[in-house]
Assembly symmetry: C2
Homo-oligomer: 454 residues x 2
């Protein structure tokens, strides 16, 4: 007997109803990407290993799925490494391709390879799966979609303004009141300068981020335990009561970072974005300054974004991004500043599910089912099926002339809203009966009126 099949660990099938929901999110995001002037690209699922390896740190490298070379792959291995069963070294000898780990590095490769054909600034979006050999666990998969929009080739802060508006446009359309948190790498550098401890910046922000939970004293205690001096902490005292409006926060930051040129530059950048957004207005989102925000610290050089779901949802960030001044430098193309954001699709789906925000129209059913009463009736039905389909309706005829009860059961199971029957009487009369499955109401129509009844 055939073995019962399984699905690979950490991967998922998507059923029609699950896909309908995902596509609702994808389509909404895509629509706004396009009105904001972003263009789609797609890159291959696998890249030459050398393109990916060494770009994500040791931990990242370890999580990259490697593809085994075809044919007699052991033939070309180093004898010594093989005898020593050195998996790490042998891996590079028997595998020259790897599944993409994110969309950023392939995008950088794309830009460098196509730099002569691209008109800069280049605004691209990309929605494709990525793969990571992570330990699968609740909500963490080995295959998942990333959804990125980036601009490369401009340092203008209008890009940052646009990304705030883009988040607002998408989440307003999805009816989710998100908070867009912003920070700037230069502000963080300024804080490090002021506290005189560049190397303790991460400890500092991690501790500060706990203000809500452990209070000012708790945070200060943690900072001291990490080797940050009392004197340094005093210098950034304003951060412990860092509430108020964005304008108030900007003013506090300006005072606090008065001695740091870099820090002031960061405040100026952030102020431009915040003030412009203030003038232009947002629809549903709230924009707020959060100096504890430090995503991918070593990567970003300017603005840092993060999107938080509404408070009632207990979930991490559902989007984020920032500016990185040297995206394509890893492949030898210097001086192309980039800024980009991503949408966390799986988490956005969780938010919409929990808030019950998927529209009713997002389902896996059809508009009309025709009941099959035999060859002649089916032929008459099929003429109407054809007309409805051409008009854009989703229509099906039950394929066999099974017992009507069975066919109606099928319609119910699939939640079909309307069922049309053509029996021998209707065949003679050139009519059909349409039953509203919700109300049970049914009515006879002339076949020539088929396109007018819905």
């Amino acid at each position: 007997m055939a073995k019962k099949p399984g699905i690979a660990r950490g991967t998922r099938d998507f059923s029609p109803v699950e896909l309908a929901k995902r596509n609702y999110i994808f389509d909404t995001v895509k629509k706004h990407f396009q009105t904001f002037g972003f263009q789609p690209i797609e890159t291959p699922s696998f890249e030459n290993s050398e393109t990916l390896m060494g770009k994500y740190g040791d931990e990242g490298d370890r999580l990259i799925f490697k593809i085994l070379n075809s044919g007699d792959f052991l033939n070309k291995t180093n004898e010594e490494d093989l005898q020593a069963k050195n998996s790490l070294k042998i891996a590079t000898q028997i595998s020259e391709k790897a599944l993409r780990y994110d969309l950023t590095v392939p995008f950088a490769r794309y830009v460098v390879m196509n730099q002569n054909d691209i008109t800069f600034p280049f605004k691209r979006y990309q929605i494709q799966p990525v793969w990571r050999a992570d330990k699968p666990q609740n909500g963490r998969y080995r295959e998942f979609y990333q959804c990125d929009a980036d601009v490369v080739g401009s340092t203008s802060l209008w890009q940052e303004v646009e990304f705030v508006q883009l988040y607002d446009a998408v989440f307003t359309d999805l009816d989710v009141a998100v908070t867009i948190k912003m920070n700037n790498r230069k502000i963080l550098s300024g804080i490090a300068e002021v506290i005189g401890a560049q190397d303790k910046l991460i400890d500092f922000t991690v501790a500060l981020d706990k203000l809500d939970k452990i209070g000012e004293e708790g945070v200060k205690k943690e900072m001291l335990s990490k080797g940050i001096t009392e004197e340094a902490i005093t210098k950034v005292q304003p951060l412990f009561s860092f509430t108020g409006s964005n304008t108030e926060k900007l003013s506090q930051l300006k005072d606090m970072l008065a001695t740091s040129e870099t820090g002031l530059k960061g405040v100026e950048e952030l102020a431009f974005i915040i003030n412009t957004i203030e003038t232009l207005g947002l629809q549903k989102a709230t924009l707020t300054i959060d100096v504890t925000l430090a995503r991918g610290l070593n990567y970003y050089t300017g603005a840092i974004f993060e999107v938080a779901a509404p408070k009632e949802i207990d979930l991490g960030s559902i989007g984020g991004g920032g500016r990185y001044d040297d995206l394509t430098g890893i492949f030898g193309l210097k001086d192309k500043s980039g800024v980009g954001i991503s949408f966390g699709l799986d988490r956005i789906a969780i938010v919409l599910e929990q808030l019950n925000l998927f529209p009713e129209a997002v389902n896996d059913t059809i508009d009309v089912l025709f009941i099959n009463f035999g060859e002649k009736e089916a032929l008459a039905s099929f003429k109407l099926v054809q007309q409805l389909r051409t008009a854009g309706y989703k229509v099906d005829m039950y394929p066999e002339a099974a017992k009507p009860a069975k066919q109606f059961k099928y319609a119910n199971k699939r939640n079909v809203p309307f069922v049309i029957t053509i029996g021998s009487q209707e065949l003679t009369d050139d009519t059909f009966i349409c039953k509203n499955m919700q109300t049970g109401e049914q009515k006879t129509y002339n076949t020539k009126d088929i396109l007018t009844i819905f």
Copy 2:
């Protein structure tokens, strides 16, 4: 210096304009899949190796991309196999996952695993990439999209009728006059019976297929050389002048296969489909019987489809499919008949390109570009950008206040149809100038009229 990056052999990047073209085809196909009541599913990119291996024959197995296990994979290998450098045996020990080779086997797995949740008959479509370790060559890639629609759980011939209509609907929409060729596995079995040589059926059809090129005598010579007897050839003499209408062909087949019960069953099935389609009519496609059609002979059990591009295009088939009575049997679920078709997306793209059938609207540009004259003007512009985007237009503002000549050059390079400028005068007057980049014509409007000018 960073190494110049490359792309993995046999894979492709898709630029915005290439994607716009591909999406035009995808969207057209999807639209009709949906009106025909098909529902999308998606399966993971990789499967457990045991799900895929042994399903595609030895040649297929060889072309499956295997994913290297993570971590210390050599640790679990058989010492003897490793010493012998037996790549074939070691492969199964260091790799337990593989990239999907087609969409059919994953679909069968999906149906078997979800059989209790699926309402049969189940009509699904699936458009996803597949991977094959083929030697890359002109038009053959290691990563390419497959696009399949199948129905599982019904033996009704109405499904076959629908698939002919579906091909017609899609290719009519794409404006391509295709020929849909049909055959039936049972007719081929009948022919084998009649010529008394079941094992020579493939030789027979391959030879017959050359009729146009090498003529009747050439074909007969080839058949004889393959060991098909003169007597057998005489029995199927009608096939050598097998032209005429479909009705005439059906009648000839009926006579020729009079002694074969299976053959007659095949003629009856084909006749139902042909006659029903005749009654219902096709839009742009031509349906024709082709008894040389034998795609995947061992796989199909009933109808066989193939779609040929218009004669002026020198290209193989651009679609095909058929009925297989035991799709899910490989995973232990018996008696689920299936029938399905696929669309050859890469080849369809070639056809549309060669016949110049991509609509003009399929491009990678935006609707309007705003010129950036500095901070104040940019802010005024952005208010209009926002309104246009909300109304669904694709709009951009040049991010920097670069020289106008440079910004207009950018607009030209990207083929932007309209450019809007707000200079200091317009800022004062609360107006903007809109320039038609095709005609050069430009006109001043009030900002409040922004949504009325396109």
